[in-house]
C-alpha cells in the first residue's frame, strides 16, 4: 500500500502548501486503497489491482481540475515572472548602454579606464536571477 501513497505524493509534489497537501494526499490515498481492496475482493490479485488503480487514476492536471483557482493563480504567477524577466532585461540594456556611453564619451576624464565592463558583468546578475526565477516556476 506504500506504493499508492508514494504515487500520490509524487503527483502533488510541486503543488499546494504543506498542510493542504498532507490532507489531500490522505484523502486520495485512502480512496485509492479502498478501490484496490474492492478489486481484490472481486478476485483480482493485489499487485494487479494496485497497478490498475494507479493507471486509471489520472494525473496532476486531473487533480488541479478540482481547483480552478489554483490553475489560474499558476498562470498569473508565470505571467508575472515573465514580465519581471523582460523588465530586468531591458533595464539591464538601458543601464549598460548608459554606462558605455558615459565611459567612452569621457574616456580622457576616466584616464582611459574602461570601467563599463565591470557594469556589464555586475548588473548582468539582475536579468539572470529573473530568468532563473521564471524557469523555476515554469517547471
Amino acid at each position: 500500500m506504500n506504493k499508492i501513497k508514494h504515487f500520490v505524493s509524487k503527483l502533488l509534489k510541486d503543488y499546494f502548501n504543506e498542510e493542504d497537501k498532507k490532507e489531500l494526499i490522505n484523502i486520495l490515498t485512502l480512496s485509492l486503497e479502498e478501490k484496490v481492496e474492492d478489486l481484490v475482493e472481486q478476485g483480482t490479485p493485489v499487485d494487479e489491482a494496485i497497478k490498475k488503480s494507479i493507471q486509471e487514476f489520472g494525473n496532476t492536471d486531473d487533480i488541479l481540475e478540482a481547483y480552478p483557482e489554483k490553475t489560474k493563480r499558476r498562470k498569473k504567477l508565470l505571467n508575472d515572472r515573465k514580465s519581471q524577466f523582460f523588465f530586468s532585461f531591458f533595464g539591464y540594456l538601458l543601464i549598460v548602454g548608459l554606462a558605455i556611453f558615459i565611459n567612452l564619451n569621457f574616456l580622457d576624464f576616466f584616464l582611459n579606464f574602461k570601467w563599463f565592463v565591470v557594469v556589464i558583468i555586475g548588473v548582468f546578475f539582475w536579468p539572470l536571477v529573473m530568468l532563473y526565477r521564471f524557469l523555476i516556476s515554469k517547471r
Partner: protein
C-alpha cells in the same frame, strides 16, 4: 463523451445528489457515475476524489468510518444540512441555465 470544461461546475451537484440518495465511499461514487451515465461522462478518479475532499473541507459533506457489508472499513460520506441547502441552490442555478439555453437555442433543438 462530454468535454470536461463544460461539466466542471456541476460535478459538485452530481456528487451531492448521489450522496443524498445514500451514503457512499469514494470508489462507490466513481462507479455509480460511470454506471448511470453509460460512460458518456468519464470523470477521472483523481478529479472526483479531489472534489469530494473539497466538499468536505467546505463542510457540505462529512465523512465517517463505516463497515462494508462484507469485509473492510470504508470512509463514507454524508451530506450535511449546509450541503442540502447548497444542492437546492445549485438546482435553481441549473434550471436557470437550462432556461437560458432553451431560450437561445430553442428553434434549433429537437431536430
Amino acid at each position: 463523451m462530454i468535454h470536461s470544461d463544460v461539466i466542471r461546475g456541476h460535478i459538485d451537484t452530481i456528487i451531492l445528489k448521489l450522496l443524498l440518495e445514500s451514503d457512499m465511499y469514494g470508489y462507490e461514487i466513481a462507479n455509480e457515475i460511470k454506471l448511470r451515465t453509460n460512460n458518456k461522462f468519464n470523470i477521472k478518479e483523481a478529479t472526483l476524489y479531489s472534489v469530494v475532499g473539497r466538499l468536505e473541507s467546505r463542510e457540505l459533506i462529512v465523512s465517517y468510518t463505516g463497515e462494508k457489508t462484507h469485509g473492510g472499513k470504508r470512509r463514507y460520506y454524508r451530506v450535511t444540512s449546509l450541503g442540502k441547502a447548497y444542492y437546492k441552490e445549485m438546482i435553481q442555478e441549473w434550471m436557470l441555465l437550462r432556461e437560458i439555453m432553451i431560450d437561445m437555442l430553442g428553434s434549433d433543438l429537437g431536430e
